[in-house]
Symmetry: C2
Subunit: 223 residues, 2 copies
């Protein structure tokens, strides 16, 4: 079985058409099937390339997977959710903006990022050797930014256990809609992830969380 090499390849600046098509197609297939069950032949069929092209451009299947992740991590255009926090004048506003950005990011299929979310869902179910790097480069900084916001809201250090648990409470609400997508579809058939509904959910999560956090802040003040 294919395994992941330990190092992410250096980004290559050239723009080969076949290479790009392979990365695009692989993003979709890895998003649908996860690394293990995705097949090189399916990817190449979608990319309109020969199966040997994967080895030519990426050395092996694992190299292609890492290239997809690398591409995903370095993609411009859409800012990171943590950037939203920087634009806010208050931590409450920061939390609202960040929550909305996270949720939108997870459901935004127009920029093709939805398939990368599905790759992450598969990565949770079946971690590859690339996970620590993804955590370090994407998940970790957003998590830290969330904890920083909560630290200011709670009046506690960012690595305090309560701050961390609150961070996971907020993040858990957001990622739940993405991770449990197939189940939620069955539990709540009327739910359509329109932009309006996304905004409503983001708003709900923010309010839910801010009021809970307000309570913890007040409880701390009374200690």
């Amino acid at each position: 079985m294919a395994s992941i090499s330990p190092a992410l390849p250096e980004p290559i600046e050239q723009s080969d058409a076949t290479r790009a098509r392979l990365i695009e197609a692989a993003g979709q297939v890895f998003g649908e099937y996860g690394f293990q069950s995705a097949t090189v032949r399916d990817i190449c069929t979608r990319a309109g390339a020969n199966v040997a092209a994967v080895n030519y451009y990426f050395r092996d299947k694992a190299g292609l997977y890492l290239a997809v992740l690398r591409d995903s991590m370095s993609a411009g255009g859409q800012p990171e959710p943590r950037d939203a926090a920087l634009r806010a004048e208050t931590p409450e506003e920061g939390l609202r903006l960040m929550t909305a950005a996270m949720l939108r990011r997870m459901h935004n299929s127009r920029t093709g990022r939805a398939c990368h979310l599905r790759i992450m869902v598969h990565e949770m179910a079946q971690p590859t050797e690339a996970l620590p790097r993804v955590v370090e480069e994407i998940i970790g900084p957003n998590y830290a930014a969330m904890r920083e916001l909560l630290s200011r809201l709670l009046g506690r250090p960012a690595d305090d256990d309560l701050t961390r648990m609150c961070a996971h409470s907020v993040i858990g609400q957001v990622v739940h809609y993405a991770h449990a997508g197939p189940v939620i579809g069955l539990l709540w058939p009327d739910l359509k992830m329109t932009p309006e509904r996304l905004d409503a959910i983001a708003s709900h999560i923010s309010e839910f969380s801010l009021h809970a956090i307000k309570h913890f802040k007040e409880a701390t003040s009374h200690e």
Copy 2:
């Protein structure tokens, strides 16, 4: 590629030793690798059985998968989280008990249920044809019970959008610790899921949620 037949097999009352060992081993392997990537040979090696035994007892790999799910769903011993709600004298208490039961269930490895949680994580990433049945028999009733509790707390119908979003906010916090286990381990290295820590997290989720819900209830009263 193997695919899932549409119907769950009827539970068989006989207790064949080989059959039982296969179900046990398959639960582990499907939990580690998901349906697609789990191999019949790995399962049979762990069960101390010949590869043809899968076809003999379960017709095919998919039949074994369904038998594992069926076994999981009919397993006695541990009550459903929704049963906890029935023991409560107030809906607040019900929410606390149910939240704790859900969290414990997802992390309780002594009864072997942790592997079934991992099967569910894989099922989220890569739904099989068995998912609707699992939702109908396990996830759905617990979801309905949660919504019933929240309905009473919020003073709104159980299928109201706000009630549903609150239900997902609570459930999202709980399942997040299980689904994102590998990532959380990297983000929060000091976190050890001891029974004490589980109780602390359950308590946190309950309080976080109850205070948020209290706000929504009060906001409704002022309308």
